[in-house]
Symmetry: C2
């Protein structure tokens, strides 16, 4: 997998457009494409950027092997000339954008891709796939982490989404504020904390619940978490403490009225002397359920379906639009489409966030010609939101791998704390700060 090229994870028209523009010469025109969303999911106050590190990983692998080229040729998708061009393809352009863990709003230019039309076009589908899904998960995770109010949230959603999406979701969840994942491939690829308890089948395959608990403790030690709702929870808790003693690590409850059950189980554990035994709950949790469990004696949450499906917003409506391109005379020219309800703002963008009393009060998107933008001076205290990820094909490896994910995890907490507190509300409403677009 580490070597698999994402070059064909692409809509066919990217290749046919490349082919046509190589014929007429426009493939070589320098271009600036931008990724943004026109709106947040309904009622959401902010979004969280995730996936950029995965984009950089994918870029490293993005080349076409003989089999890919043969497919494009056999299907007649591109001409022989284009096959030659593709043989040595490597992205040689530059990419900047919002860092992972950064907040985004409508029209925030979360990624900016600069290069020739040909090379930028080939990346469109892949970049959007990664950002649309990863940002959806990170944005949901962030709301959940906020609602959990300091209690650790763990990703257990792999089974409820595509098997590769599961890996991306685990990573995005950590960017969005989660502590770990049940998904082993994600743990391996990204060095994430792996967590797990046991399933009901583990209890059922044994002749008794006691046998199952004894077996789990023999294998994993007393610090393990036992699943106690296969039959009768009260009996299971009693058996669990009998088997493990009061050093039992934890119990998991996966059904029923979680608040009431956590309270009963806590009292029972305490009465049995297992005062340090933790309680994990799972069962179709989302940010609203987590908020409602704040007063229940729960120690950690396992979140599945609603995390990996973006809690009602499984994609982000990010689009990839040409903002500026070289003209026939060699000068860069802002361009825009005029499609009804989908018109774009011409010109490359700068992006800043301004603050009042240490709280963000506006997202500033500044569009203009290269010369105008070069001369633009932001006001004092504005945060420049764009960082450089790729410089003429050179990837900045600081934004890849485990450390980048943990840095993004920390950054998201800080950036969220700098938004007005309404951002942490689960009430539906407008984005917590406005986006002001200025055309110079």
């Amino acid at each position: 997998m580490a070597e698999f090229s994402p070059a064909l994870m692409t809509d066919m028209y990217e290749y046919t457009m490349l082919d046509a523009t190589l014929r007429d010469g426009t493939a070589n025109r320098r271009c600036v494409f931008e990724i943004f969303t026109r709106h947040l999911p309904e009622g959401r106050r902010y979004g969280v950027v995730a996936g950029t590190g995965r984009i950089l990983d994918a870029l490293e692998r993005f080349h076409l092997d003989d089999e890919d080229l043969r497919f494009l040729s056999d299907r007649g998708i591109v001409s022989r000339q284009t096959i030659s061009w593709l043989e040595n393809f490597r992205f040689s352009g530059s990419i900047r954008g919002y860092r992972e863990g950064e907040m985004f709003f409508p029209n925030s230019p979360v990624l900016q891709v600069e290069g020739t039309f040909g090379e930028c076009t080939l990346l469109e589908t892949l970049l959007l796939s990664v950002l649309n899904y990863d940002c959806a998960v990170a944005s949901a995770a962030s709301r959940m982490a906020t609602a959990a109010n300091g209690r650790p949230c763990m990703d257990m959603g792999g089974r409820r989404t595509n098997e590769w999406a599961a890996v991306a979701a685990a990573r995005a969840a950590v960017v969005g504020g989660f502590q770990g994942t049940a998904n082993l491939l994600a743990a391996k690829m990204y060095g994430l904390k792996a967590i797990g308890t046991a399933a009901h089948c583990f209890t059922l395959v044994h002749d008794s619940e006691r046998d199952a608990f004894v077996s789990q403790i023999d294998a994993l030690g007393k610090n393990t978490t036992l699943l106690v709702d296969t039959y009768n929870i009260e009996e299971a808790v009693r058996t669990a403490v009998e088997v493990a003693g009061p050093e039992l690590g934890g119990v998991r409850i996966d059904s029923g009225d979680l608040a009431a059950l956590a309270q009963r189980v806590r009292n029972q554990l305490d009465a049995l002397g297992a005062t340090n035994t933790t309680i994990t709950v799972t069962n179709d949790l989302d940010e609203y359920a987590l908020a409602s469990l704040q007063t229940a004696p729960v120690d950690s949450y396992g979140v599945g379906t609603r995390l990996v499906t973006g809690s009602g917003a499984p994609t982000c409506a990010m689009v990839y639009k040409l903002a500026e391109r070289e003209g026939a005379d060699g000068t860069m020219t802002p361009v825009a489409k005029k499609s009804k309800d989908k018109a774009t703002v011409p010109g490359r963008k700068l992006a800043f966030r301004s603050y009042e009393y240490n709280l963000a009060d506006c997202e500033h998107v500044i569009a203009g010609s290269e010369a105008d933008l070069a001369a633009f001076r932001p006001e004092e205290g504005w945060k420049d939101l764009l960082v450089d990820f790729v410089d003429h094909g050179e990837i900045d490896s600081r934004y890849q791998g485990h450390d980048a994910i943990m840095a993004a995890h920390d950054y998201r907490a800080k950036a969220l704390a700098e938004l007005p507190i309404t951002a942490q509300s689960l009430m539906r409403g407008e984005p917590v700060i406005p986006t002001e677009t200025t055309v110079l």
Copy 2:
């Protein structure tokens, strides 16, 4: 990718349960696990099975290489004994279930996995990931294909979901009734029809819309589809026919009031003599939009976001439950958990569909001991819904690859036609036939 093993696309607890049961011997108990959903997404009348062929592909690749084993060992997830067991792991059990393209309902046993506890446990997460996502997409696709009422639907959603999910979605869309996909990797892996037009950036990178159209026709021929809504649609259509002549293949509209625009464009094309030029529309379509476009002169649909996110139901809530296992005395024993609202029915299941006047009237799920099920005789005319996919580790290759997908595509149309016509309604309601579970 073709060689990448999905063995770690798995929740950690599958491996720790394996480890514990290898220690105590229960890993070798023969088991029957079943996959089903307790309910369809709210208001849905039926679901469509998809993903089984992908499961068979994944099973062929499911083994642990040295790097996987080192990870499990270094992280202390399993013991040395388990590492040895995993070194030569190949699934040697049997799998049966609903064929791809078959309709499913609450409690339909869409997949049944039989083998030792150890080997069946390792597959849980992967099987659920595949079925939960692929069935969600196929079920949405089926509603869209029905609403399109014979007009071809094409998958253009890859950019709105995870990049690998996009490949699975393209395949599931075809199972669910779609004709093709924009996704090249899906087209390559599964031999699907690849389709494409052009993006707005293609028009914008050229000095004029006319230049762009000339370029596209030079490269792709007059039978191509030109995107006509970058600036002014009426002008674009006039230019398109001027450039290509009345043999122009098609035009695409991606914004605005699609019905009204299609009507205007159809009249304009006809007036220009381009009576065979087709009209494709795209722009956040779903089954409701398609139904509302029935009277508009549209020839084909490109569907994106709503397809790959299951049109409001991005996952299927499929679960994997132990139904029967070998006891200490070697006999197979039905088992079930009693968790509140999540109790299961003990025993392996048979599944049949009964018909009245050639229309399905009931899904029959029959549970019991091996002996009882062996003696069970369905009534005359009941369709046996379970087919054999894997027999003691031997995969039936008829359910893999391109031909299986096209067979599923055809099967889905036939199976849907055998349901009461309410299944084709977009009105929210109950599953179109009831599921009756009988415990022998």
